[in-house]
């Protein structure tokens, strides 16, 4: 059986590399190669697409996770493999929530990618066990509680306390408490320094 594949990446070279990987296997057929996640669902709705290989961050502002959510809504039979160099806890959690089948690092060999595609099409869900640990101030990112990580991730977007509270559905007092604890744990002098540190280390939305 040959699976129909759509590749979505805004950068020419990674897209071409994905195309090559797909074309290198007789089990897969490259249907379309798109340079924006914004239009991926259109193809999936119009055609029988078995697998979408998609990046997350696109230069045009579109986002692979948003596109995946829409694809899953209208074309639930289409399997999705997110391949990104930004493997973050937030992305992993959101991908699982959306129902994305697999999620893997972009920096991988062709054969590894084919293997993940095969496992995905066989009904397996392939995710990294955990995102890579990063140092934030004087601690490792895993030393933060999930709630603190959520607040910190919101902080990296430049959101105010009120916006963080609204986005996470918690009170502004709880947000302040979390921020205070994170500052204490990481040793960062203030929230701006903390947000920059976290963002620079790849912990962000």
């Amino acid at each position: 059986m040959t699976y129909n594949v759509v590749v979505v990446d805004d950068q020419n070279i990674p897209r071409k590399l994905f195309e090559m990987v797909v074309n290198s296997s007789s089990r897969y057929r490259l249907m379309y190669s798109l340079d924006s996640a914004a239009v991926a669902h259109v193809i999936c709705e119009r055609f029988d697409v078995d697998l979408v290989i998609m990046d997350i961050v696109m230069a045009d502002g579109s986002n692979g996770l948003d596109a995946a959510k829409r694809i899953k809504k209208h074309s639930p039979g289409t399997k999705i493999l997110i391949v990104t160099s930004m493997v973050e806890e937030g992305y992993l959690k959101r991908a699982r929530d959306i129902g994305i089948e697999s999620f893997w690092y972009k920096e991988t060999t062709d054969s590894e990618l084919i293997e993940i595609m095969d496992r995905t099409m066989a009904g397996e869900s392939v995710f990294p066990e955990s995102p890579p640990d990063v140092m934030i101030g004087r601690i490792l990112s895993r030393e933060l509680t999930p709630a603190e990580t959520d607040v910190l991730r919101e902080m990296t977007t430049g959101a105010s306390n009120q916006e963080i509270a609204d986005n996470l559905g918690i009170s502004i007092g709880t947000v302040k408490t979390h921020i205070s604890r994170i500052l204490s744990k990481t040793g960062c002098p203030n929230r701006t320094a903390l947000a920059i540190e976290a963002r620079m280390r790849g912990l962000g939305s």
Partner: protein, 418 residues
């Protein structure tokens, strides 16, 4: 002992005491009248007149006796026979009356307000108060308002209008020369036929300083948040560049592998066939060619390309917005209409008409095919489109009958910019 038998010294003292009581009672009654204790005052005054008359008679009698002319007043000739204890009772009654009246006045003065007590009370207020009539005549102004008025007008306040002219009805705070900050409330009321204006100045120095401080912190925070958002954009760009670099490294590695495979083939050490080596080279060159291609920068390119893939033609009449933010709105709208066209209308053509008139840019999107059977409900993509459009100050209208039509309207300035 009768009045006539009384020693001269004792008589004099009693008369002087009676006189003192009389004066005290008059003072107390005057205070009572001023406090509008009408009924009580009238009763006491009547009693006092009677007592005064009695005292006068006693005093007069006393004087006449002493001068030896007692026989001249027949009407009171018998008074000399009145026992002394009666006069003492009169004096006692007067004393009690005076004390009771004094207590009454003191108590009433504490419990009830007089115009002076109002003035004294408002003078102690930390807030400024000024009440004046239609002509500007000040009816009541406390010391705080007098001080504030002098400060903000630069002159002694003689008319309520002087203060009114310096404050507005929107409670804009004013800072005085001593650094204190006041906010002013103005209220107009009718008392009887008089139209009164009341100005109240409240000291908000502490709140104002705190608000100012909070404002400065907010500004600083907003600035930091803005910088963080900018940083986010930079980091996203950096991530993309990192991915490109990784991809280029991969191209480099593949070329390296190709070279090694070719070298081994030339040396005869490779098990690969010439066709396999050729295929490796073709891939490598294909990748190299891709690396040289420019990245897609046209914001409309993706939607026209995918429309072609799904078999829908998009015709554009007029000028598409060149500005990126506006262009993204149009692209999002076209994507929504594209899915609608093949999913519901089963059509194959979309028309986008761009017109510019009356200070507005209008973008109207229609499609062929089957018209919607029911009113279109905005959810998902259309809902997001409306949010995005309205965040830029655009308006969005959706028509379901007789055919589907999506209209986006954007205002533009005189220069034609959105």
């Amino acid at each position: 002992m009768t009045f006539d038998d009384m020693p001269f010294m004792m008589m004099s003292l009693q008369c002087l005491y009676a006189l003192f009581l009389l004066l005290a009672l008059f003072c107390v009654i005057a205070a009572s009248i001023r406090m509008r204790r009408g009924a009580v005052s009238y009763i006491i005054t009547s009693l006092l007149i009677l007592i005064s008359y009695g005292l006068y008679e006693i005093f007069n009698r006393f004087m006449l006796i002493k001068r030896g002319t007692v026989s001249t007043i027949y009407a009171i000739s018998k008074l000399h026979a009145i026992p002394e204890w009666i006069w003492l009772v009169i004096l006692f009654v007067m004393t009690v009356l005076t004390v009771l009246m004094a207590i009454d006045v003191a108590y009433y003065g504490k419990e009830k307000l007089s115009s002076n007590s109002v003035k004294f009370a408002v003078d102690d207020l930390p807030a400024g108060l000024c009440i004046y009539d239609k002509s500007g005549r000040i009816l009541l102004m406390n010391e705080t308002m007098a001080r504030i008025g002098t400060d903000i007008t630069g002159e002694y306040v003689l008319s309520g209008e002087q203060i009114f002219s310096r404050v507005d009805e929107h409670s804009t705070p004013l800072r005085l020369s001593d650094g204190s900050v006041y906010t002013f409330g103005i209220e107009r009321t009718n008392v009887g036929s008089a139209e009164l204006t009341e100005i109240i100045a409240e000291n908000i120095t502490e709140e104002y300083e705190l608000t100012e401080r909070l404002h400065r912190i907010d500004e600083e925070l907003s600035s930091q948040q803005k910088r963080l958002r900018e940083l986010n954009v930079l980091i996203t760009e950096m991530t993309i560049q990192k991915e490109i670099l990784a991809a280029k490294t991969s191209v480099h590695d593949r070329f390296g592998s190709t070279m090694i495979a070719t070298k081994r083939f030339i040396r005869g050490a490779s098990e690969s066939s010439p066709e396999e080596i050729r295929a490796i080279w073709n891939k490598a060159l294909d990748l190299l060619e891709t690396a040289g291609e420019p990245e897609q920068k046209d914001i409309y390119g993706k939607v026209f390309t995918v429309a072609g893939y799904v078999g829908v033609d998009i015709d554009v009449k007029g000028e598409l917005p060149a500005e990126r933010e506006s262009g993204e709105i149009i692209v999002t709208a076209l994507i929504e209409c594209l899915t609608n066209t093949f999913r519901h209308a089963h059509g194959d053509r979309i028309l986008l008409e761009c017109t510019k008139n009356e200070g507005r840019n209008t973008y109207m999107i229609t499609n062929n095919g089957v018209a919607p059977k029911t009113e279109i409900q905005e959810s998902g993509g259309l809902k997001n489109l409306r949010q995005a459009a309205e965040s830029l100050g655009w308006t969005m209208e959706i028509q379901s009958r007789p055919t589907f039509r999506l209209t986006l309207t954007a205002p533009y300035d005189e220069g034609g910019n959105l």
